[in-house]
């Protein structure tokens, strides 16, 4: 067992715990970035350096920055934190928590059943991933491209705001 993995795993779990218990959304986001970076280290230890880089660039970089930017745009400050404090009561989280721990226990039990001989960590180089992507998975890649485009169009469409402008005689809905 690699010591790097253990440290990274602990950091990831602890940071995630902080994310789900934190009241202030900005702090939660920063903890999430820490968690994602820790996961990137884990990915590296599992012989997927390219994925680790992507995790850092896309997840911790692009997506998290987008959310942070969004939160700053909405100017969600201390009052949301107050709200969170009011909402996170034990009677709210105790029952879902119990069920989730049952689920976790079951997952762990199933994972620990694995009695297969240890094959060790095999490194899968990025070249092999690229060959797979543009070989058997070509159509899936195309579809992913379409999905991303749909995401862009959808975000644009949903994000538009309809503002009412009053004309002298007519009431028009103009896109802004």
């Amino acid at each position: 067992m690699d010591i790097t993995f253990i440290i990274a795993a602990f950091i990831a779990v602890l940071a995630t715990l902080r994310v789900i218990t934190c009241y202030h959304i900005m702090h939660a986001l920063l903890y999430l970035v820490v968690s994602l970076l820790a996961v990137a280290v884990v990915l590296f230890t599992y012989g997927a350096p390219f994925m680790a880089v992507l995790e850092i660039i896309i997840y911790a970089g692009a997506i998290m920055v987008l959310i942070i930017f969004f939160v700053m745009m909405l100017n969600l400050g201390l009052e949301t934190a107050e709200n969170e404090k009011a909402w996170l009561r034990p009677r709210i989280w105790i029952v879902p928590g119990v069920f989730c721990f049952v689920l976790l226990a079951e997952l762990l039990y199933l994972i620990l059943q694995n009695k297969q001989p240890a094959a060790g960590i095999q490194i899968v180089p990025p070249k092999q991933v690229g060959m797979a992507l543009f070989g058997p998975y070509l159509i899936a890649v195309e579809l992913t491209g379409i999905l991303l485009m749909a995401g862009i169009v959808g975000a644009y469409h949903l994000g538009r705001q309809h503002k009412k402008t009053l004309h002298r005689f007519l009431e028009n809905n103009l896109d802004t």
Partner: protein
């Protein structure tokens, strides 16, 4: 520690996944719910990469890339939706958006 590396990776993925799930369940703030979904997606991706290293095949990493792309699309659309919701309800409380009840 004589824990099998694949098992250890899957355990980490399971723990992260359940933590995300708990967060989705207990949060009312809709941005937190989106974050928690990201945690869960990330955990699933981690499991794929662990499987890829276990078999020495590239497929798991390919799946991780697809999950990454999907997460990006999901976040962009989700944020746009949250924006609309915030403009309509003046709140981020997901319970407020319960007009479509039976």
């Amino acid at each position: 520690m004589n824990l099998h590396p694949t098992t250890a990776g899957l355990l980490l993925a399971g723990i992260l996944f359940v933590l995300g799930l708990i967060s989705v369940l207990i949060r009312r703030n809709i941005i937190f719910m989106l974050l928690s979904v990201e945690i869960m997606l990330n955990a699933a991706g981690l499991a794929f990469v662990v499987a890829a290293s276990h078999w020495g095949q590239a497929d798991g990493q390919v799946m991780f890339m697809f999950i990454l792309a999907m997460a990006a699309a999901e976040v962009s659309v989700g944020l746009a939706l949250i924006l609309q919701l915030y403009h309509q309800l003046r709140s981020l409380d997901s319970d407020e958006a319960s007009r479509m009840n039976g």
